[in-house]
């Protein structure tokens, strides 16, 4: 039998192992989306932070002599808007607002929702029922309508937009985390921890959370994209950042009147939204991949 094989079994094994090793080396290639996404995010953050260095114009200075200048006009790489404000400057300064929304709104809801879901899932019983009915209540409303109602009630401003997102967006995290906690609390390592007499807080935050956090972290990346689009939508509806401030959604909203004559007013900030959205999506996707292969 063995003469039929060109190579001895050990050589065959060696070849298989070598091939597997080659595949492992290409792990870097598999993480490419993550790296590209992170690079794009870093770029966006850098642009926001370095805005005064990158452009000399202020985003709010009106220049009535040069309104609606097309892109590539000297001194105005992306043109000017109807008041002669530099579009590039507005996009770069606008990144500060929109990224702050992406991070600020998302981190608060991520942390809050995760804690609520963890507590509900682990403790169960009445606490769980009450918290989850509350979540159901939020899910029952159309999300955007709820946010618009809250912002309209509090008065349109960036801070109130944050508050509206904080009030409504934690529910998704709570539900995801609760499902994870319910599964985890039946795991043997949790039973073992309880058998060792550890307190509930210790079990929840030291034993369950690190084992289950990947799902909410990945979701938060998707949610960050959603929050940017939400901020843009609210700005577009006039409920977010108010006109002089260079928020992307507000810019798109203002630019729509000139869409046929001066397309760059709405298109350029739109591309900025797309850029950041893709960046977060890639990071979320890459993280999901990374954390999944890291599992047992």
């Amino acid at each position: 039998m063995s003469t039929m094989w060109a190579a001895t079994p050990s050589e065959q094994l060696m070849r298989m192992a070598t091939r597997a090793a080659g595949r492992r080396r290409s792990a870097t290639r598999r993480r490419l989306p993550l790296y590209i996404g992170l690079a794009m995010l870093v770029l966006a953050v850098a642009a926001a932070v370095l805005a005064p260095v990158l452009v000399s114009q202020s985003p709010t200075t009106i220049d009535v002599l040069h309104p609606l200048a097309p892109p590539l006009t000297p001194g105005h790489a992306l043109g000017t808007d109807q008041f002669g404000r530099d579009v590039l400057a507005r996009i770069l300064y606008g990144a500060r607002i929109d990224l702050a929304i992406a991070f600020g709104a998302t981190i608060v809801t991520l942390v809050g929702g995760t804690i609520i879901g963890l507590v509900a899932g682990y403790l169960g019983g009445r606490i769980d029922s009450v918290l989850m009915r509350l979540v159901d209540l939020f899910f029952a409303f159309p999300f955007l309508v709820l946010i618009i109602a809250i912002v309209a009630m509090l008065g349109p401003s960036i801070l109130n937009m944050f508050v509206a997102i904080w009030i409504t967006s934690w529910v998704a995290y709570a539900r995801i985390m609760r499902a994870q906690a319910v599964v985890a609390k039946r795991q043997q390592y949790v039973l073992a921890a309880r058998a060792l007499g550890y307190g509930r807080l210790r079990i929840m935050f030291r034993h369950i959370l690190p084992n289950t956090a990947s799902a909410v972290i990945i979701f938060s990346m998707v949610d960050a994209v959603g929050n940017i689009i939400l901020a843009a939508s609210l700005g577009f509806l006039g409920l977010g950042a108010q006109p002089p401030s260079p928020e992307w959604g507000t810019m798109i909203s203002e630019g729509q009147n000139y869409l046929l004559t001066s397309w760059w007013l709405a298109t350029m900030p739109g591309l900025a939204v797309v850029f950041v959205g893709i960046a977060f999506s890639l990071v979320g996707d890459g993280l999901a991949d990374l954390l999944r292969t890291g599992e047992r």
Binding site: Q188, Y189, L196, Y198, P210, R296
Partner: protein
């Protein structure tokens, strides 16, 4: 082996689980007493209520679905029932006084923390030590359970341990605060025979060194008979036989115990494997009378109607050779009990 007073008394322990299909009587009136420094074995098939008994004692049944009643008295803690104790009181007992190890060592540790971290956590849980003290105690524990190069292995994650080594680490964690009672729920089931033997002898050695009591749960009569002073045989949530290990193994008084012993494959004997015909009754619609009646070769009409209870069997202890040298000294507890009204006719001199 020092015989002392009782350490743990369990009286009429019941653990009913509410499920979608009805109420499952996982544990249905289990009573026993465990002496100081005694090793008690609980045997039975899967689903006979062995694990549920242990988990009920430690209060680890799921609170939302399980209804636990009866009495569990841990004597060093006073005469109170710990089943009704409040959470902080129970937490102080667990780990410090009562420890439990689980069946599957591969999942008994938190996968994202190093073994050392988890061991240190257990060491610190019920004592206030300095970092250096805790660390040296942790390393000492790993060494004690036979893990080579303990200081280096502290930094490893659970997945870097083999099954046997992991079970050793789990035992080290359970023993971190020198409990007086160790509940071992099938500690060797997921391990191969060689490792099984090593872990069992390690457990016994530790038990003898520390003088703690131990409840060893297993479905393997061979394992149980090797290490236990006394045996409880469970069937369908009830104790069907209880007695000193040697008595139960050599003179089983309940047909179920006999069937279990008959089912043990004999070394050097080729042929058909014997099993017990039929399957255990549903724990939801529990039949009246003896729960083993459906599968019992000795069944009579009365078996299906009598109000079962554990009956004392006439003592054969004098002839069992137990009183001779090498036998373990009986610690508390009655003689041999069986939940069979025909135990005297059923009992065979040699199984």
């Amino acid at each position: 082996m020092a015989a002392g007073g009782p350490l743990l008394t369990v009286r009429d322990l019941r653990s009913y689980l509410s499920t979608r299909h009805g109420v499952v009587r996982a544990v249905d009136g289990v009573s026993f007493t465990l002496g100081e420094a005694e090793v008690l074995g609980i045997v039975g098939e899967s689903g006979s209520g062995k694990s549920a008994t242990c988990r009920s004692i430690v209060g680890l049944m799921p609170a939302s679905t399980a209804h636990v009643s009866g009495e569990v008295i841990y004597h060093p803690h006073g005469g109170r029932n710990i089943l009704t104790a409040r959470q902080p009181e129970l937490q102080a007992l667990r780990g410090a006084q009562l420890a439990m190890i689980f069946q599957d060592s591969m999942t008994a540790l938190n996968p994202v923390l190093t073994v050392g971290d988890q061991l240190l956590e257990a060491v610190n849980a019920h004592a206030s030590l300095t970092r250096a003290q805790a660390r040296s105690q942790a390393i000492g524990l790993l060494e004690r359970v036979g893990i080579p190069a303990p200081a280096r292995r502290m930094r490893d994650y659970p997945f870097q341990f083999s099954g046997g080594m992991l079970q050793r680490a789990v035992i080290a964690i359970a023993l971190a605060s020198s409990p007086r009672l160790l509940l071992a729920d099938e500690p060797t089931t997921s391990l191969d025979v060689i490792i099984q033997d090593q872990i069992l002898s390690l457990l016994l050695e530790l038990q003898e060194d520390t003088g703690m009591s131990m409840i060893l749960v297993s479905h393997d009569l061979a394992v149980i008979s090797e290490v236990c002073d006394r045996i409880i045989v469970m069937y369908a949530g009830q104790v069907v036989e209880e007695g000193r290990a040697a008595d139960v193994i050599t003179h089983p008084a309940h047909p179920y115990t006999q069937a279990l012993l008959d089912a043990l494959p004999q070394a050097g004997e080729r042929g058909l494997l014997r099993s017990i015909p039929g399957s255990p009754p549903s724990l939801i619609d529990v039949p009246d009378g003896c729960r083993f009646a459906e599968r019992c070769p000795h069944v009579l009409g009365k078996c299906r109607t009598w109000d079962t209870e554990l009956l004392e069997t006439s003592g054969l202890t004098g002839t069992s050779g137990l009183t001779g040298s090498g036998g373990r000294i009986e610690t508390g507890g009655p003689g041999q009990l069986a939940r069979c009204w025909r135990h005297d006719e059923v009992r065979r001199p040699q199984a």
